[in-house]
């Protein structure tokens, strides 16, 4: 397996590393914070992050430093930092590892970010299912507080940075940043329309930055080792640094791989992931960036894993979840399974997303049950067109991606099922009766 220098997973992969404050300090933890508090201004920290080229790891890939700079400097009221630890995008499981194994790395990143944007409070919005992660974080916060890294008057510098864990309770949409804010305010997690953006009107209508766990975990390293160092890793200038790709599906060695951006899917899947689960089966499809990303085929194996390349090839790097599917996997089934997810998770705010997801799912289920009709395929595409770009949040675009892309590459599989519908009459019990 090729070795790359790891940044985020490096500590935790040391034998015996427990993630305790002691361990973290031993590996140079909280030095970045000390360095900054000794005399780097918040604006300079923001500039360092800007210059590092770091882009958000949560899905949209927005330049982090730029996002921070949108926060008004002279705002009279409180400002907030929210760490997006909702990690619910199917195929993604990196934040969980970062939190459970090296919580202080994230905490230090958060305190630094609070300092940079002038927030006195940071919330870690963690998906409710991650009980273990939440407990570990709570414990780490307590440790850091005792040690003076968190709380009132951090390290005697006068900085206030309170950090709290806030657990969700089961709703994928709460990973969308404005839904996250609504949820944090104790409401239903329904996204807000934008503008205004969280940077000016976020939590409690105050300026707020929302960043992903992995994004924030990078901050101490960037501060310690410098913007140039970070900007030289990966595929500069647009995709700097490493990313943790979450490999799943039909591969030999699934799991989290931290690699510099810009390696190819082939390298990730075949060199890191050990290739296909079953040597006799060829790769058929890839979901390149979590459930919301359009499918790739084996023809895309040499596409580079950086923001631009994946976008150019017609999908997105998204959350870094790479799912591999082998020959024999039905792509209609795959699209249907994903649609079940989207139907289940649509918050229901926007008409096209809400009604579209149930319509798309019913149609896919019908086709899968050999009850498809010739006109279904064009209608599916038409419905997708009517959802895409017409909703408040990107969920609408996400839910059509699997349908559109599987129809693009494997339309024949759909047609085959529809043809079967014409010749077979499934027995009664076989037809799924849709239950909303």
């Amino acid at each position: 397996m090729p070795q790359y220098e790891k940044i985020l997973l490096k500590n935790m992969e040391q034998p015996g590393y427990s993630g305790s404050l002691q361990d973290y300090e031993r590996t140079g933890g909280y030095q970045a914070l000390r360095k900054v508090l000794k005399g780097i201004s918040p604006a300079d920290v923001t500039d360092i992050v800007k210059n590092s080229g770091l882009r958000g790891r949560g899905g949209a890939g927005f330049p982090t430093g730029v996002k921070w700079s949108f926060v008004p400097k002279d705002h009279p009221g409180p400002k907030y930092l929210c760490c997006n630890a909702d990690e619910s995008e199917p195929g993604t499981f990196k934040d969980r590892q970062l939190m459970e194994r090296d919580p202080h790395q994230l905490l230090e990143g958060m305190v630094l970010t609070c300092y940079a944007i002038g927030a006195q409070t940071g919330y870690i919005y963690i998906r409710g299912e991650f009980r273990l992660g939440a407990t570990i974080l709570e414990r780490a916060i307590e440790e850091a507080k005792q040690a003076g890294y968190i709380g009132q008057n951090v390290l005697g510098s006068g900085l206030t940075a309170n950090i709290y864990v806030h657990a969700g309770a089961g709703a994928y949409i709460c990973g969308e940043e404005t839904a996250l804010l609504e949820s944090l305010e104790g409401k239903r997690g329904m996204p807000r329309f934008k503008p205004p953006f969280p940077a000016t009107h976020g939590l409690y209508q105050q300026p707020t930055v929302v960043n992903n766990v992995e994004t924030l975990a990078n901050i101490p390293h960037i501060v310690t080792r410098g913007a140039e160092w970070f900007a030289s890793i990966g595929a500069p200038p647009r995709s700097t640094g490493t990313r943790i790709f979450c490999l799943s599906g039909h591969v030999k060695w699934p799991g989290n791989y931290e690699v510099p951006m810009g390696i190819t899917f082939r390298e990730l899947i075949f060199e890191n992931g050990g290739g296909m689960r079953s040597d006799s089966k060829k790769l058929k499809g890839i979901i390149p960036g979590g459930a919301s990303a359009a499918f790739f085929t084996e023809e895309h194996l040499d596409v580079k894993l950086d923001f631009e390349s994946v976008a150019q090839a017609g999908s997105m790097l998204g959350s870094g979840g790479v799912t591999v599917m082998e020959e024999g996997t039905s792509m209609v089934w795959a699209a249907m399974r994903l649609m079940e997810f989207f139907y289940h998770e649509s918050c229901g705010k926007c008409t096209p997303c809400r009604e579209g997801s149930s319509w798309l799912l019913q149609t896919l289920q019908r086709i899968w049950a050999r009850r498809g009709r010739a006109e279904d395929l064009d209608m599916l595409l038409d419905l997708c067109k009517n959802i895409e770009g017409r909703t408040i949040c990107a969920f609408g675009d996400a839910e059509v991606a699997p349908v559109v892309s599987t129809l693009r590459y494997w339309r024949n599989e759909y047609e085959e099922l529809i043809r079967e519908a014409e010749v077979t009459r499934p027995a009664k019990g076989e037809i799924p009766v849709f239950t909303h």
């Binding site: 409180p78 199917p90 499981f93 309170n162 806030h166 799943s248 799991g255 989290n256 399974r337 079940e340």
Partner: protein, 175 residues
């Protein structure tokens, strides 16, 4: 009554937020941990604590799928049915579980020990198939392993097979 029992914790929770309503999910989660589900009485009490009307608590509670508004079994088995787990056999496991427990997805066993749910992705796709039982994750499941977990739970109320802090793949020599 939540407040009576957890006065200190609730005060601490409330102190975390400038707006009371923010403590709603934490309190609902607490209520569920307390009784296994969120009862109407709990929702009313939470409404009172947070200066909300009961419908405001209810609308929030019904949005989140982890919150059970009806009593469920002692062990809530939530097995992932999303595509990543689906690719590596979760459907078979669900079938197996249904047979083993003698219930269908969505049901609770007669002894009120197990409730079986099939849920969407829980963030363990690299160690699929997986399930969550109450607070704990169980990963890289096989029928045999699930069987052992069920036995453990029945006997001990807990199982050593549950996951610890996540790291996968394990780097060579890390343990």
């Amino acid at each position: 009554m939540l407040l009576e029992k957890h006065q200190e914790l609730i005060t601490e929770l409330l102190s975390r937020y400038p707006v009371k309503r923010s403590a709603l999910l934490p309190l609902l989660n607490l209520a569920q941990r307390e009784e296994g589900y969120v009862s109407e009485a709990a929702m009313k009490e939470i409404a009172k604590i947070l200066d909300l009307t009961p419908p405001q608590v209810y609308e929030t509670a019904t949005f989140y799928t982890m919150l059970n508004l009806k009593p469920i079994g002692k062990f809530h088995i939530q097995i992932c049915k999303s595509i990543m787990c689906g690719l590596v056999g979760s459907d078979d496991l669900i079938q197996w579980l249904q047979n083993r427990l003698g219930i269908r997805v969505g049901q609770t066993t007669g002894d009120r020990l197990f409730t079986l749910s099939a849920v969407e992705c829980l963030g363990s796709c690299g160690t699929a198939p997986m399930m969550q039982i109450n607070d704990d994750y169980y990963e890289q499941l096989t029928a045999e392993k699930v069987g052992r977990v069920l036995e453990d739970l029945r006997r001990e109320g807990t199982s050593p097979l549950k996951s610890g802090p996540f790291m996968f793949p394990q780097p060579a020599g890390s343990r």
